[in-house]
Amino acid sequence: MSLLIQHDSDAAALRRGTRRFLFVATLAMLALIAAIVVRQGVFRQTTSYSFVTDSAQDIAKGQAVRIAGFRVGAVSNVSLKDDGQVVVIMEIDADHMRFVTHDARVELRKEGLVGSPTLEIVPGPDKTRLAAAQARLRFSRAEGLGALANQVRDEFVPILKDIKVITGVLADPQKGLPGTLAQVRASSEALNTLLANSNRQVNGIGGAATRVLGKAEEDLSQLGQTLAAANARLPGLIDRTQQVLDHVEKITAEAEISVPPALREGGAAAADVREIVSGARQAWPIRNFVNAPAPAKLKLDSDLRGEAGRAR
């Protein structure tokens, strides 16, 4: 009898434990379901917007909708109208409605050039008015890789045509590169000839200059000897100075007649003479015989160009 009573009390305890476990498990399950529903945004307040496009390419139900890169909603429906247009309906969190202006547009962009497509709501410039709920927004597609390729092709095709024309012109044997090269070759040959002639002439001038300088050196050495002798016989020279001056006057008079025409023969000869005279003036011992000039006195002129013609 006591054994039966003991069995009944154990069974009752087991039932109580089982009921408690089931109660707790049910509560946990309900909490989990509530969390999932909240996380899914079932209780979140949303607003729907729509747009119309020609093609549903790259647009799918559940696709993220972003504003300034932040996910603010998703595509809730994509449907084909009777006229062949595609209507896309988006659900946007009510919290983010303040960014959707009445002139906002929806743009289909790709992350990078080849990434996944996303819909981006781009607010318009007029921030004073917001879009009404279920408003129809404008839609555009950002240029993707294909459009870029088309643009590049459009840019390159004319360039390639130009290159083709240019290469055609360059290849022209008469007016093109071969002709130009032939002309350049002919010009360079003419230039070479000219340079050769110039070299010959410069050599000739150089030879002449060398001869003149050689002669000048010879004359200067003779002059040095003469002056040495003159120094040795200075007293005698003083006596003969007057006679020498007479000779100088005569020679100068002759030189006045004969030198100018000779000087007119060319600038080169004049330059040579100037060089010789300048060199001789600075060379010892002639420099000892050349006196410094007297202080200069300019002629009076009370009407210099100071007024530059303003008063005359």
Binding site: A230, L237, P295, L298, L300, G306, A308, G309, A311
Partner: protein
């Protein structure tokens, strides 16, 4: 070849001839010799009308003189430099150079400095300052200095600028009298030009023409293009006045011809201001260009 030989022979003989003198005279120190040579070269270039190179050489000479503490040489070359700058039309630069010369001088401003300053100030249209300098110069000169004629001419120019034509004529004639028999052709030409301008301003266009032609003749002989151009402009103005007074009613061609000569000379010598004046005078036809003083 013969010319070179002759020149060498001339050099040798000249060297021989100069030997006794050189032996007797003391040798110049190298720096002083260099300064004298730069000064002499500057004077040659000034004489040839290469005023820019002359100014450079005078500046070089002045620096060399200053380096050997030769104040008179420094001041003299600064004055030469200022004169070269004035001849180029750089009046501001000339005034700075003259101030430098004054600073270097132990005594007060010399008469030459005052006269050049007056010229520069007239060029810059500072008539009052020019007149003041001329008054100081007049006090220094007391009528008996070698620059008396130049002083008279500058006073004549100041008078002319102040529309005192009779005073200008008196001063210019006094200068011409002082210059008689002197080897100062440029100043004589200046005197004739001022006499012509003063007569023209005084209404004696008939008497102005021979004076202007006398100035032109002298300036041509001296080959001074700037003054020749100015003489032609003056002759054009005189002919225009003569034509208007009715003495020669058919003088329009002569007037235009004078202005054209002025333009040609100014263009050939690269005198931009004078060329502009001549062009304006030609274009003006019967109108006297405003702002041009005779």
């Amino acid at each position: 070849m013969r010319a070179k030989t002759l020149l060498l022979a001339t050099l040798i003989l000249a060297g021989c001839a100069a030997a006794p003198n050189s032996a007797n005279s003391p040798t110049e120190p190298p720096r002083l010799k260099a300064a004298l040579e730069a000064e002499s070269d500057g004077a040659k270039r000034y004489g040839r009308g290469d005023y820019a190179a002359a100014a450079r050489r005078f500046d070089e000479a002045a620096r060399t003189y200053a380096s050997i503490d030769d104040t008179p040489g420094t001041v003299r070359n600064r004055l030469h430099q200022a004169r070269s700058e004035l001849a180029q039309g750089h009046a501001e630069a000339a005034l700075l150079t003259l101030e430098s010369a004054e600073r270097g001088s132990d005594a007060g401003p010399a008469l030459d400095t005052l006269l050049l300053k007056a010229q520069a100030q007239m060029a810059l249209d500072r008539q009052a300052a020019a007149q003041q300098n001329l008054a100081t110069a007049s006090g220094q000169c007391a009528g008996a200095c070698p620059q008396a004629a130049s002083l008279h001419l500058l006073q004549a120019r100041v008078a002319l600028a102040a529309n005192r034509a009779p005073d200008a004529l008196v001063q210019a004639e006094a200068a011409l009298k002082l210059l008689q028999g002197k080897d100062e052709a440029a100043e004589i030409g200046n005197a004739w030009r001022l006499i012509a301008a003063a007569r023209l301003a005084g209404g004696d266009a008939g008497g102005a023409l021979p004076a202007a032609q006398a100035a032109l003749e002298i300036d041509r002989r001296l080959a001074l293009p700037e003054k020749i151009a100015r003489d032609w402009l003056l002759i054009g103005d005189i002919r225009r006045k003569v034509m208007r007074s009715g003495i020669h009613s058919d003088g329009a061609d002569d007037t235009a011809a004078a202005y054209r000569r002025a333009l040609d000379v100014a263009n050939a010598a690269g005198l931009v201001d004078l060329a502009r004046l001549a062009t304006r005078a030609l274009a003006a036809g019967n109108e006297v260009p405003p702002g041009r003083k005779p």
